[in-house]
């Protein structure tokens, strides 16, 4: 996102924060608009419209399945339906308005979205009748979302499907092997949808009306890069009447500007001296390699946590407190604590829906504890890696951390049972400092897999860092 876009976000957020009534609808209108506005260009131009439309379609469909009959009543939901329909229509009408700076002007013809709308509404009406009877629909949606995510994250599958489309059209596919197909925000939207489906199945999801649900899934400050809130928490914030004190304004402003500074000044400057493929090939000094690696570690932190600050600040002026995503992760004395403070909302999600159920299940079987810890850590961290993209690099990054967490867990256990009394403060301080140093370096080495384009280059970088092959 650009500074100008975030500036506009801030203005819109401030205006929404002034509303005493209809705040939920205003957030909804802004979020639906932003969903279309930020969608990047695509291989096929029409997808710039249809992808965000599909996001809304999927969100509304999922809401139908996870809502109660009482929360589905027309009287409650018609304003939200109207707002969504009007915003989508206005965006489509840009073919007549011709506002190129706001959105593309080659939006689908009116008859096309009219037909799409009628087909979709018929589908929803059928689904509403069936939803309460056919419980498997929920599981089907859950699995469908996972499949879609895997597809979107796998460049090979995208290439193959585009080649197929060109072949079906009888056209020659373009020479470039990389097709442009990106579903903006889907990685995060997936987790919100899956969380609501699972919690509905276990009876833990509160009743949400359409506006609340769509707002939760595509809330504009957080839909592209998190944090991943929990529905019950988010809705509670939304339902509380807004009452911003001076202190709230001050804190929101501080978070917003701090985030902008971290992202656009610090992170963007560090990007110039952060490790990349070219540097790995050209640098012949281990010391400089460490320097460039550390710069990358700092850059990714300032970039990501900076964006989180911006999102938290924007949400705050609209009366919504988003959860924190970072808590000084590089100052943690071990890897477990690092992962408790880095991209916290993502790790909490994985803990709740993968790690804990898997551990619970394995604990009821006769499986040795170290094996359970190994399996759950490797599995969770590999999936967190693959969530960033289905590639060897992300998988290796995940395994790197999974193995690291396992070794740290076993070591802590080994030390703990042998520690009878607390250490003297000085020794504890030294131990903590050593732990912070070790953890930071372990995490930094892991970033090599994360940022460099192939495992071979990552391994070359790693060997150069230790003075081999310079």
């Amino acid at each position: 996102m650009t500074i100008v876009q975030l500036g506009i976000f801030a203005l819109v957020a401030i205006l929404i924060g002034q509303l005493k009534k209809s705040r939920e609808l205003a957030i909804l209108a802004a979020s639906v608009f932003v969903l279309f506005w930020l969608q990047p260009s695509q291989q096929f131009v029409s997808l710039v419209f249809w992808i965000p439309a599909a996001t809304i379609g999927l969100t509304i469909f999922t809401w139908l399945l996870v809502s109660t009959p009482e929360s589905r009543v027309w009287e409650v939901n018609w304003p939200s339906i109207l707002v969504i329909a009007v915003v989508v229509l206005l965006i489509d009408l840009n073919q007549f308005f011709g506002l190129e700076t706001i959105y593309m002007t080659t939006t689908p013809r009116l008859w096309m979205i009219g037909t799409g709308f009628i087909v979709y509404i018929s589908f929803l009406m059928a689904a509403t009748r069936l939803a309460d009877k056919l419980k498997f629909l929920l599981t089907a949606v859950f699995i469908g979302i996972i499949f879609l995510l895997v597809y979107l994250k796998t460049p090979f599958l995208i290439s193959k499907s585009f080649e197929l489309i060109y072949a079906l059209r009888g056209q020659e596919s373009p020479a470039e092997a990389h097709y442009i197909f990106s579903w903006l925000g889907f990685s995060y939207i997936t987790f919100r949808l899956m969380h609501t489906v699972r919690d509905f199945q276990t009876g833990r999801l509160p009743a949400l009306n359409l506006g609340e649900y769509v707002n939760y899934v595509i809330f504009f400050p957080s839909f592209t890069a998190g944090p991943i809130d929990r529905a019950e928490r988010f809705v509670q914030e939304l339902r509380t009447p807004i009452a911003l004190a001076d202190q709230d304004w001050l804190e929101a402003g501080k978070r917003f500007f701090l985030g902008m500074f971290k992202k656009f000044v610090i992170a963007d400057s560090l990007a110039l001296i952060a490790i990349n493929e070219m540097l790995v090939n050209q640098v012949h000094s281990a010391a400089w390699m460490w320097f460039f690696l550390y710069m990358y570690s700092l850059r990714i932190y300032f970039d990501f946590s900076g964006y989180t600050d911006v999102a938290i600040g924007l949400a705050r002026v609209m009366g919504v407190r988003l959860p924190e995503n970072f808590a000084s992760p590089y100052f943690k004395p071990n890897l477990t604590l690092f992962w408790n403070s880095w991209h916290m909302t993502l790790t909490q999600w994985f803990r709740a829906y993968l790690f804990n159920p898997m551990t619970r299940w394995m604990r009821t079987k006769n499986i040795s504890i170290p094996l359970i810890i190994f399996a759950t850590q490797i599995c969770t961290m590999s999936l967190i890696g693959l969530w960033h993209g289905v590639s060897w690099n992300f998988l290796l990054w995940g395994i790197w951390h999974g193995v690291g967490l396992f070794i740290q867990n076993r070591w802590s256990e080994f030390v703990r049972v042998r520690t009878t009394s607390p250490l003297p403060p000085r020794r504890q301080l030294l131990l903590n400092a050593g732990g912070i140093f070790l953890t930071f370096n372990f995490v930094s080495l892991g970033w090599l897999f994360f940022t460099l384009p192939s495992p071979q280059i990552a391994l070359l970088a790693m060997s150069k860092l230790f003075g081999i092959g310079l």
């Binding site: 919690d199 276990t202 833990r204 929990r230 959860p323 071990n334 477990t336 604590l337 408790n340 909490q348 803990r351 709740a352 829906y353 790690f355 804990n356 159920p357 551990t359 619970r360 604990r363 359970i372 810890i373 759950t376 867990n409 802590s412 256990e413 703990r416 049972v417 520690t419 009878t420 009394s421």
Partner: protein, 82 residues
């Protein structure tokens, strides 16, 4: 009642989870955010609570936001029992 629960929990954590029987865990001490109990041991604690007090703690509740001290865990248990 709450004191009974917290002392039972404190004893169990010290003896069985962190395996330092002499370690005193105060009722208001953070046990998750401090790293005293890792995510694996947290599941063990949940299973113990379920067996001992007969209340279910959901997988989604095993985090520092739901409870971070024995006092908070005891209130959660009591609210479920009620």
């Amino acid at each position: 009642m709450s004191v009974e629960i917290t002392s039972t929990l404190a004893k169990h954590i010290a003896e069985k989870i962190i395996k330092q029987p002499s370690r005193v865990i105060t009722p208001d001490e953070p046990i998750i955010s401090s790293g005293l109990i890792d995510s694996f041991s947290l599941m063990d604690l949940a299973l113990y609570v379920e067996d001992t007090f007969g209340v279910r703690i959901d997988d989604t509740e095993l985090n520092a936001t739901s409870f971070d001290s024995l006092d908070q865990l005891a209130s959660l248990i009591q609210s479920r029992k009620a």
